[in-house]
Amino acid sequence: MKLKTKQISVKDFLIKYALFILIIALWIVYGINSPHFFTIKNLRSLLTNAAPLLIYATGMTYILILGEIDLSVGSVGAVASAAWILSMTKLDVPLAAAFLIALLIGAACGLLTGFMVVKLRINAFMASLGMQFILRGICYLSADGEQILTPKDVHTFANYRLLTLSPLIYISLSIAAIMMLIYKYTAFGRKIQACGCNREAAKTIGINVDRIKWSAFIISGMLAGLAGSLQCVNFGILLPGSIGEGSEFLAITACVLGGTSLMGGTGSIIPGTLIGVIFYYSIENGLGLLGANVYLYPIVRGIVIYLAMVTDSLKFSVGRRKSKGL
């Protein structure tokens, strides 16, 4: 009997910490093969590059825990960053105020997606997919299909260093931390998890499921707006077709890698999603250092997605076996 529990716990342990084990293995492989991998400079740039995705994925974690999905975040990021840049170049709005505009636009997009999901009862997959196309179109239109150079302020912001680190790192990490605290230590966060665990039960005990869901979409939209703007900072240029392109799927992948269930009900931002994001960027970063063919990247991306799904289904099947054994 004792032996049996031990065996199961080893397996559980492996599944639970699969990503940590993988990430360490990956670092070791990269560290051996490239002298540049474990340099401060490289790790700094890795984190800076990862910052926007971390913010996208943080919002996505809320949505996934609720058992929903939001495919619009990439386009929301694009529209919000366009608004950010254009309000600075065309209307001479100062950088910080323009940031606020980006956040508001993002929140408005989330509000709209949430409205379709909660009020019109459109399936979240389709509602957010529609938003993805529409917003991408709006982004192209607002920029006239052109690439727009970012104003000087943005470059100053991008090159600003606090304790040698880019502000993007601080912003993304503190947002992840704040969102994790909200999730764990506020009634709102607890109700998000309750709704994701068992929507009907949540309704019966008097939780306003619709309001919780709607709020989560607004938050996700707002964070997407911020993430898109930060992507723009990284690029140094507004690319209406590239900002946030595919980010929704990368965000979902990072969340699932980090242990958030696509079925809803369980997940975490720190360590979960954070590790998922770092894992993904470690792979890309290392491939770059090793001088891998750039056409290899999408293939690796695909493999990472499978990896995420395998861990998800392994966890799910272990959980099911457990509940059946009761």
Partner: protein
């Protein structure tokens, strides 16, 4: 003891379309009392509990707590009035901790886990439970989950607690544990309703027994004063309809042999033989594991142990068949017609030929639609399916006709054995008789049927033999002439 709570239910009725589920029921209950509520399926127990729990409102009558009339419009209302509903399957947020489960609905602002855990511990201790409030519910055994649900009801100030068949999936030890907790709650002045199918549980635990039949209270008195015989007689009511004088049929050839079938905790080592041309009934109360036997046999649920053998008629006698391949030889008319019985948006002919497509091939690639439609028409006529045409969508047909379409689709496949689960639930009287006659005809033509039904009349009308199931185990066997209500009830409780 603080103030005594009293609950008065006065003349409550509830009608659903076509059914009067509750008919002027009046019950009075006080704190410190355990009331056992029993009745056969459909007697109105659940309806009554659902009204008190705020799942749906009554059509007539009033409910008073401490003399004050109240309206229970939602589960939240019920909670407000101190009514806690403990479900058969605990309703839980499995990835959250015990403490979170207990108080999540009342949270606002910042969450203080220390307070949360302390509050949870207080209520769990009130029941003498030492469950760690920081544990995830997913990691608790089912018995402890029930405790958490009771703690939730208590923490929202529950003084009237409704237990809906709480022991259905319990081990004996868990059951005793629950009974202790319920007695503890009674001492603390709670008013407790305990619904159960098991008479021994009601006798052991309750102070008062209320028997419902057809939506009416037929017995209401001290448990100690009521004999089991009285309860049984009143649960069923009336005398049994005369069984038609069909002669006892003789069976020689075993068509299907089930040996030691075990899947989880039910069925539990079930063995029986099914003869060629025989209709074998499986009788048991809800939760006895009737449907589970069929599902395991048909390969839908994984069997942990046991074998099934069939005589395929190729002269080789009984051969062991893997459960996964049973669907090739058997037809399964399921209990939940709307869920898994038929494809509602499809037409009659599509439904009827669906299980048997490989017999309707025009050539290697294409199906012969004309033959499918032709044969469907033939069977519609044979089974007297009332449908405008075979192109009609099944969703637009009445329950009885849907059931006939389902029967037809298996008839067209000509299986060796039919599994039939509650064939006449929710169909009208006329269709009921026809469906029962159809089962008899099948048997007369040499097919074997395994019929699950909760209606004793139905079993005595269609079955040659009935086996009795109690909590997953076979506890008896009756031949056609021996089938009668008292015997059945005695064997299954």
């Amino acid at each position: 003891m603080a103030e005594q709570i009293t609950l008065e239910i006065k003349n409550i009725s509830k009608s659903f379309p076509g059914v009067r589920a509750l008919d002027h029921v009046s019950i009075e209950a006080r704190g410190g009392e355990i009331i056992g509520l029993i009745g056969v399926n459909g007697a109105g127990k659940s309806t009554l509990m659902n009204i008190l729990g705020g799942v749906f409102p009554q059509t007539e009558g009033e409910i008073r707590i401490n003399g004050q009339e109240i309206q229970i419009k939602s589960p939240q209302d019920a909670e407000k009035y101190g009514i806690g509903f403990i479900h058969q399957e605990p309703v839980m947020f499995q990835y959250m901790t015990v403490a979170e489960n207990i108080s999540v609905s009342r949270l606002h602002g910042k969450v203080n886990y220390k307070e949360l855990n302390a509050a949870a511990r207080k209520h769990l201790e009130q029941m003498n439970c030492d469950i760690d409030p920081r544990k995830r519910v997913a990691d608790l055994p089912i018995g402890e989950r029930q405790m958490v649900e009771i703690a939730r009801a208590l923490s929202s100030g529950g003084k009237i607690l409704l237990f809906d068949e709480p022991t259905a999936s319990f081990t004996d030890k868990e059951k005793q544990r629950l009974f202790e907790v319920i007695r503890e709650l009674k001492k603390a002045g709670s008013c407790i309703f305990f619904i159960s199918h098991f008479l021994d549980e009601v006798e052991e635990l309750t102070d008062r027994t209320i028997v419902l039949r057809d939506g009416k209270v037929v017995i209401n008195g001290k448990t100690a004063d009521i004999s089991r015989k009285d309860i049984l007689r009143n649960m069923i009511g009336g005398e049994m309809a005369k069984v038609d004088n069909e002669e006892e049929r003789k069976f020689e050839k075993v068509l299907m042999r089930v040996d030691n079938l075990t899947a989880g905790d039910k069925p539990d080592h079930v063995s029986f033989d099914l003869y060629e041309g025989e209709v074998l009934g499986i009788w048991g109360l809800m939760g006895a594991g009737r449907t589970e036997i069929l599902r395991a046999l048909y390969g839908l649920d994984k069997a942990d142990e046991g074998t099934v053998s069939l005589d395929l008629g190729d002269g080789r006698g009984l051969q062991a068949i893997p459960f996964a391949r049973m669907s090739e030889y058997c037809g399964y008319v399921t209990e939940a017609r709307h869920d898994d019985g038929c494809l509602l948006p499809w037409s009659v002919w599509e439904n009827m030929s669906a299980p048997n497509l490989k017999n309707y091939k025009r050539n290697r690639l294409f199906l012969d639609f004309n033959r499918q439609k032709e044969e469907s028409r033939v069977y519609c006529k044979r089974l007297n399916v009332k449908t405008p045409s075979v192109f009609t969508k099944v969703s637009t047909l009445s329950g009885g006709n849907q059931q006939k379409v389902i029967m037809a689709k298996w008839l067209m496949k000509k299986p060796k054995v039919f599994f039939i689960d509650e064939p006449t639930r929710g169909v009208d009287v006329g269709a009921k008789a026809e469906i029962q006659r159809m089962v008899r005809e099948l048997a007369a033509q040499g097919s074997s049927c395994l019929v699950v039904s909760s209606e004793i009349e139905e079993l005595s009308a269609v079955c040659d033999r009935v086996v009795i199931l109690n909590r997953g185990r076979l506890t008896g066997e009756l031949l056609k002439k021996e089938i009668d209500k008292d015997t059945l009830m005695h064997l299954c409780v």
